[in-house]
């Protein structure tokens, strides 16, 4: 465990300034209702800038944290150190999970506590937020584990999202149109299934890259996962369609 924290400390030290900027942007987004600013234009401008900062830095940081100790590059420094692939993948998942999933959800929770005191009444909301963030962060980390630099990672991630979206759009032509009753019955199930599926596939890709170093099977997993998500997205409603007929 000491070595795990040792590597985490190294990563935090390496990315400290970018992390401070990212945290600053996130803090502004959370605290901006209380910011003593005059004028809606300035407030909107700062909010947009903070969102851009958080998004761009977030993507860059996730890719950089994974690629700093790349899972498959033979000349990565960590590969010559007595660090097992299992320990390294644990480090990376802990780090990005704590910073980009747990910390934002906790921050939102704290804000709500101070804002309206409603945190205890909407625990499931925080779970959903956590799941959404986990799906985004894990898919980015999976893209980073399959590419060599931040730009390639971003291109792969965007391509996967657009590819999945386009395929889902195409498949939707053949999907059932749910009645209001069916939609009410389905609720959040489809969203939860897609988020869980994407997180699981991304996690499988990351583990495959670190533990087995099989780039081809990781690529197959990513593509298969995208197709599976589009298919599930399009046809998940069948059960609710028939059950409400």
């Amino acid at each position: 465990m000491n070595l795990t924290w040792h590597i985490i400390r190294k990563d935090l030290q390496r990315s400290r300034w970018a992390l401070v900027c990212w945290a600053f942007g996130l803090a502004y987004l959370l605290l901006q209702p209380w910011a003593p600013l005059q004028g809606d234009n300035l407030r909107d401008y700062l909010q947009g800038a903070a969102m851009l900062l958080v998004l761009v830095l977030g993507v860059g940081l996730i890719a950089d944290l994974v690629q700093a100790d790349h899972p498959t590059q033979e000349n990565s420094h960590w590969r010559a150190l007595p660090v097992s692939a299992g320990r390294m993948v644990t480090v990376k998942l802990l780090l990005i999970g704590m910073i980009f999933v747990v910390a934002p959800v906790v921050a939102v929770c704290i804000r709500h506590v101070f804002d309206q005191g409603k945190s205890l009444h909407h625990a499931s909301e925080y779970g959903l937020e956590g799941l959404i963030l986990a799906a985004i962060v894990l898919s980015l980390a999976a893209s980073a584990a399959c590419t060599r630099n931040v730009l390639q990672c971003l291109l792969l991630w965007v391509s996967l999202i657009f590819g999945t979206g386009t395929l889902a759009d195409f498949l939707n032509r053949f999907a059932p149109v749910l009645s209001l009753q069916g939609m009410a019955r389905m609720g959040m199930t489809k969203v939860l299934v897609i988020l869980t599926l994407s997180s699981t596939i991304a996690l499988a890709v990351i583990l495959n890259q670190y533990l087995r170093r099989r780039v081809v099977s990781s690529a197959v997993l990513l593509l298969g996962g995208a197709v599976a998500m589009a298919t599930v997205g399009a046809f998940w409603g069948y059960f609710y369609f028939y059950s409400t007929q």
Binding site: H6, N75, S84
Partner: protein
């Protein structure tokens, strides 16, 4: 006892190339390239073992397989008694690895690199670290990205020597280093190796440094071991033979152990790869009666060149 045992190792990878213009623009063709063919090599514990060979001979691939950076296609490689694909943290803590193309964390200073690496090795010796730091004249507070290639190599070597590894694997450590830095690296290595019981496996093109450093050598050619023995025995069995003859060039076949045969008017030279005074002189006496035969020892460099570029008997039958 062997610290490394490689048996029947095969390694291949897929090479891709674009197709000519008549095919669609993105079309590529891939084929299997064999890098290592049935490689068998034993590295005795306590030795300084040099892997030599031309570019593409398979030296780096062999070392990467040993470090589990590449998984072998077939065969086995055992390091410290463990199959290389099963090397764990306990074994890796006893191995030092420095490669020419290794990516160091450039954002760290030399001090930060040492602090970072120290935590992984229970056997890290702070006194040896300080001694090597002084010997290599490394600036502790300078970032690795601001160091020259030679200094970076020294920093990597320091981080791999300070815990007195049982096995040190070095991939082209002398490439691109100036003579002074090269000497520093060699001396630092020799000092550390003499003090402990470190075995060293080093791949290099720098035959002069290898001759200073190593006691065993293996020559790889196209992924196969061509020669593997002690340097002493290699230097002992190779001689440049000079024959001053009056007779014409003899007909018939020459001994297979004669390499790099060159013949001019009245003088023939070749490299005898299985030198034994009586046998070699006996062969020469039969082929060139009354000739004067001189045998001179060869430096390792000439031996390796003769092995890599054999021109055996090429002049046979063309000269008189």
């Amino acid at each position: 006892m062997n610290i490394i045992e490689i048996r029947n190792l095969h390694q291949h990878y897929w090479t891709k190339a674009s197709l000519p213009d008549i095919f669609p623009p993105d079309a590529t063709m891939s084929w299997r390239t064999e890098v290592l063919h049935d490689l068998t090599l034993l590295v005795p514990a306590g030795s300084i073992f040099a892997l030599l060979g031309a570019n593409g001979a398979g030296k780096t691939t062999t070392l990467k397989v040993l470090m589990n950076l590449l998984q072998p296609s077939a065969g086995s490689a055992r390091v410290l008694g463990v199959d290389s694909i099963r090397l764990g943290e306990a074994q890796l803590a006893r191995i030092g690895y420095v490669a020419e193309d290794q990516k160091l964390p450039d954002w760290m200073t030399v001090r930060q690199l040492l602090d970072y690496c120290r935590a992984f090795y229970p056997a890290w010796d702070r006194q040896l670290e300080a001694k090597l730091l002084a010997r290599f004249e490394l600036p502790e507070d300078r970032r690795l990205s601001h160091l020259s290639r030679g200094m970076r190599m020294k920093a990597a070597l320091l981080a791999s020597l300070a815990y007195r590894p049982e096995l040190l694997i070095l991939d082209e450590p002398f490439n691109g280093l100036d003579p002074v830095v090269r000497d520093d690296v060699t001396q630092g290595l020799l000092e550390s190796v003499r003090q402990g019981e470190t075995s060293v496996l080093v791949s290099s093109h720098d035959i002069e440094e290898v001759e200073r450093l190593a006691d065993h050598v293996a020559l790889l050619e196209s992924g196969r071991v061509k020669v593997a023995e002690t340097i002493e025995s290699l230097l002992g069995r190779f001689r440049r033979i000079e024959v001053d003859r009056e007779a014409a060039w003899p007909a018939g076949s020459l001994p297979a152990s004669w390499l790099d045969l060159q013949s001019g008017a009245g003088r023939t030279t070749f490299i005898e790869s299985a030198y034994q005074p009586e046998t070699t002189e006996g062969h020469c006496g039969k082929l060139f009666p009354l000739a004067q035969v001189q045998a001179r020892p060869l430096p390792l460099r000439d031996i390796i060149i003769a092995l890599v570029r054999p021109r055996r008997n090429q002049t046979q039958g063309t000269n008189t």
